[in-house]
């Protein structure tokens, strides 16, 4: 497998704390070097309809504030205005991995917000394609999951993959 072959998964949850459990499990796998990710984020939509990036994880399995301003690629997917409410603060800082410094204005946040009704949560992760089974098994409580391949490291490819995964969340 090419070292630029990744999958992006979008997972939606009815119950936010079960999403948190799965997020923790996913990051734990990274930390234990059982999984390689470019980044992972936990998004919540609270009862009032406020979409927030609740937590982030990076390629080293570090979570949230532990990683300071570097919140990983996936946070970058949540372009402004969402980033204004990202709990980890300055998200535009150092990014990791193949997609470093790509701010993908994907509109993913808005679409996630639409797909995630108030009181629910979602996880977005970009991971080494060879670990699809591992990721799938970790996201045990997801109600919907949609996976799309990211063939190559360019922004266009990533945007296309996100669009594909988002489309899979519909219906």
């Amino acid at each position: 497998m090419s070292d630029t072959d990744f999958d992006v998964v979008i997972a939606a949850y009815l119950i936010p704390d079960l999403a948190q459990n799965d997020f923790d499990a996913l990051v734990g796998l990274v930390k234990d070097k059982q999984l390689t990710v470019e980044g992972v984020v936990l998004v919540t939509n609270d009862a009032g309809g406020n979409v927030t990036v609740k937590e982030t994880g990076d390629h080293l399995g570090r979570k949230g504030l532990e990683i300071g301003g570097g919140v990983g690629l996936v946070v970058g997917l949540f372009a402004p205005p969402l980033l204004a409410s990202v709990v980890v603060g300055a998200a535009a800082g150092a990014l990791a991995g193949k997609f470093a410094r790509h701010r993908v204005e994907s509109g993913l946040a808005e679409k996630m917000g639409a797909a995630l009704p108030p009181g629910s949560a979602g996880i977005v992760a970009i991971y080494d394609r060879g670990k699809t089974g591992t990721v799938d098994a970790a996201l045990t409580s997801a109600v919907r999951k949609s996976v799309a391949p990211v063939d190559g490291g360019g922004t266009k490819k990533l945007k296309a993959a996100l669009a594909e995964a988002q489309a899979g969340m519909g219906g």
């Binding site: 939606a12 009815l14 119950i15 079960l18 797909a115 009704p117 109600v143 919907r144």
Partner: protein
């Protein structure tokens, strides 16, 4: 009028003129007795009859359940709890038995009014020889009102053409306000008032409409009106809630009270309820908690996701139920404020049948999926719940939710089964509280006489001092089959009068006599109604006497935990034979007549295949909407579009969880078909609608005439094709149990959420007429097949009510 009046023949005869009438007033003597009205016997009290829908013995806190019911508690503390009160296991049958004092089959309500079967016990046509007791009260001088759920009018009669002989007024209610349907959304209830649908109402004081609140306001307004008009006249009020039937609609304010309260699951909840029931004494100390049926999963076997979703389902149900208690409390407060509480006999029955098992094991975001036989997995249910708003929306108008089967089972603690299952107490034994302080001296007491819903009428008449009439409107009357339990109000040891009773609903049956109860349950779970399953009950295949039986002796076995059939075969045979005697006497035969469409026994084919609506016809009841299911059909509309264009709904039926709308938006003709909240199909014209007189059409060409057929939609404007698309799934049975069709607007919840912000999105041009053609190109075989399916659909839609 004195008690010398002959009340055995109704209407009561006008008294003879006792004055003198000369050629002129000179020497004439008036008789003012002519001007008076019939009066009830001296001292006849007010009567308030409260009926909660779809709830179990183990739901209200008053009977040990988890739902806080402070008003029920209060009435029980000042009155009596009856812990061996019985209903039929279904809605309409119980209501018919309640209001007539007669067995449900004897008054034609062995089934449901969505399907009128061609056998006396299943016609859904109240016979004239069974005058309901509200009519008897009315004819004896009571003011009478029915507020809330009705579900006793044949579906095909629920329109302006009537006839109105089966509407609430004809059952003896001076005033009626509520919904005729088997169930209704609580936020967009299609209201009927007396003999007319008045549609979805606005809320008060800028708040959204909410049926439990509105019906209570109506009840209070009616009481105030009556008392303002006549300071003495006794009243009878039948207050029948839509709660706690699905959809479980209640605001978060109520469901949040129960957050985390059901995390222990249904197995543990049953145990907790059972312990409380014993402490309260409503269940004897020696009673045994019956085990879970294998059709329901163990709580511990569920995924964490399922546990959390299911727990929330029950939180909403509990909040919804407590809200019902709250509104009854408001009504009681109003009666008290009028100074009439202690002169009012209150009979409050918590459930017209046991709690409903119809939500399927997963529970559902939209009960319509179950009604239409659409099987959904646990995962799909969760996905669709997410689609329509997640857990936060469970209880809102965005869903039509019903909880998991096993919560209903827990609500029926300590019994087995639930609604529809007439063979067991889970379907047939419900709490009852009676308050009448003038006569009940041991407030808070418990009564354990075997009582039945047919006893309510005779008891009320006896309390009022009114005899059961021998003739009403010139028709000799069937005697009431219920018996009075008035004696038990004052004497805890009063003899038991109701010593024998049959139970039967859709083939599930029981025979009770002198403490013995023979259960004869069909091997069919209430949430399954598929033809494949029903084959085993077909004529010539099914022998009811070969159904498995269970025998219980209730005086020693409150919960039906100890099956004695093996050790008492002679008693089994005796009760089986007795059941057939009762079946003969009360028109129970033929069994499954309410399911006859599933076995090819159909009413004659109708001849009307086109329906024309002139002008803005609104609030067409579901049973009267042209049946567009399972075959090709066309909708054609003649419009006038002003020079500056028009927008809005041309015609719409039901809502986003099942329905269709033909409308104009952004200048384009659009058609949306909501497939039960699972899929939405949308088509639109390529160009804008012209102005002036315009004809638009939506033609659905079914791939073939069969249930749930796919097909193609084509849109036309002035005869030219302007758009279209495929619909891979269509609804086989029905969109909605309560929501109606509207021309020129989309009342209530709308079909396409894209115009929800403009609801009811009234058409800004003119809709001159809309024509439905539901048989544009059938052959005879198709027509018969679809007719059969339509009758099955009527039955299926009503069975869950």
């Amino acid at each position: 009028m004195s008690d010398e009046v002959d009340r055995s023949v109704l209407p009561i005869r006008r008294p003879p003129f006792k004055g003198v009438a000369n050629q002129t007033l000179g020497g004439s003597e008036p008789d003012w007795g002519l001007i008076g009205h019939v009066k009830p016997p001296e001292g006849a009290p007010n009567i308030l009859l409260v009926l909660i829908d779809d709830a179990g013995f183990g739901n209200p806190g008053t009977f040990g359940g988890p739902v806080a019911t402070p008003n029920y508690d209060r009435m029980a503390a000042e009155g009596l709890r009856y812990n061996r009160f019985h209903v039929t296991a279904m809605c309409s049958p119980t209501r018919a038995a309640l209001l007539t004092g007669r067995n449900h089959h004897a008054v034609g309500m062995g089934g449901i009014p969505e399907f009128s079967g061609a056998f006396p016990g299943y016609s859904a046509m109240l016979p004239r020889d069974a005058a309901p007791f509200p009519k008897v009260l009315k004819e004896n001088g009571y003011s009478t009102a029915g507020i809330g759920k009705w579900h006793l009018t044949p579906e095909g009669e629920q329109g302006p053409a009537g006839p109105f002989t089966h509407w609430p007024n004809a059952w003896g209610f001076d005033y009626y306000w509520g919904f005729l349907a088997p169930e209704a959304g609580q936020y967009d209830t299609m209201i009927a008032e007396n003999q007319k649908f008045i549609g979805v109402q606005d809320g008060k004081d800028g708040k959204p409409f909410y049926f439990p609140e509105a019906m209570t306001d109506q009840a209070i307004d009616w009481l105030h009106g009556v008392r303002g008009h006549d300071g003495q006249k006794p009243w009878f009020l039948y207050y029948s809630t839509g709660c706690s039937h699905a959809p479980h609609h209640v605001s978060k304010e109520w469901s949040a009270k129960y957050k985390g309260r059901f995390d222990q699951g249904w197995d543990r909840l049953r145990e907790e309820t059972f312990e409380r029931q014993k402490r309260l004494g409503v269940v004897p100390a020696d009673a045994v908690l019956t085990p879970r049926n294998e059709e329901m999963p163990a709580w511990d076997s569920l995924s964490e996701n399922s546990k959390r979703l299911f727990a929330h389902q029950m939180e909403v149900y509990a909040g919804y139920s407590e809200n019902a208690d709250h509104h009854v409390g408001r009504l009681l407060d109003a009666v008290e404020e009028m100074g009439e509480l202690d002169n009012t006999v209150i009979i409050w029955i918590w459930g017209d049948n046991g709690a409903s098992l119809e939500g399927t094991p997963t529970g559902t975001f939209n009960e319509g999926t179950m009604v239409n036989g659409l099987p959904l997995t646990d995962e799909e249910q969760m996905q669709l719940a997410l689609k329509w708003g997640g857990l936060e929306a469970w209880g809102t108008e965005m869903m039509y939710p019903h909880y998991s089967t096993a919560w209903a089972w827990a609500g029926n603690t300590p019994f087995q089964w639930g609604k529809q299952v007439a063979s067991h107490l889970g379907g047939t034994r419900n709490p009852m509280v009676v308050r009448w302080p003038a006569h009940i001296t041991d407030g808070g007491g418990l009564r354990s006489q075997f009582t039945h819903v047919t006893d309510i009428g005779p008891t009320i008449l006896e309390i009022a001092g009114i005899p059961q009439p021998a003739h009403v409107d010139g028709v000799g009357q069937q005697p009431m089959t219920g018996v009075t339990f008035t004696g038990s109000l004052t004497d805890p040891d009063a003899p038991e009068h109701h010593t024998q009773q049959y139970f039967e609903n859709f083939g599930n049956r029981a025979m009770y006599q002198d403490g013995w109860w023979l259960s004869m349950r069909m091997p069919r779970t209430p949430w399954r109604l598929d033809p494949e399953l029903l084959k085993r009950f077909a004529p010539g295949v099914w022998n009811p006497d070969e159904d498995p039986v269970e025998l219980y002796y209730l005086p020693d076995d409150f919960s039906q935990a100890n099956d004695l059939s093996a050790s008492h075969p002679e008693k089994v045979k005796e009760l089986q034979a007795l059941f057939w005697e009762e079946a003969e006497k009360y028109n129970i035969k033929p069994l499954l007549a309410g399911f006859s469409p599933f076995f090819g026994i159909l009413p004659p084919l109708g001849s009307q295949t086109t329906t024309t609506y002139y002008g803005d016809v609104q609030n067409v009841a579901p049973g009267c909407v042209p049946r567009v299911y399972n075959h090709s059909y066309t909708i054609s509309a003649d419009l006038h579009v002003p020079d500056d264009g028009a927008e809005g709904v041309i015609v719409a039926d039901a809502n986003h969880l099942g329905g269709f709308a033909l409308f104009v938006q952004d200048g384009k003709l659009k058609h949306t078909y909501a497939f039960l909240g699972v899929f939405e199909y949308r088509q639109e014209s390529a160009g804008e609608l012209p102005t002036g007189d315009v004809n638009v059409q939506m033609r659905f060409a079914a791939d073939e005439a069969k249930p749930a057929t796919p097909g193609a939609v084509t849109l036309y404007v002035n005869g030219e094709q302007v758009g279209g698309g495929r619909m891979d799934h269509t609804v086989p049975f029905g969109f909605s149990g309560y929501s109606g069709l509207d021309v020129g607007r989309d009342n209530g919840l709308v079909v396409d959420r894209g115009y929800a912000g403009q609801a009811p999105f009234a058409f800004t041009g003119t809709v001159k007429k809309v024509v439905f053609d539901v048989a544009p190109h059938f052959d005879g075989k198709d027509e018969l097949a679809l007719h059969e399916h339509a009758q099955q659909a009527h039955t299926a839609r009503g069975i869950n009510a």
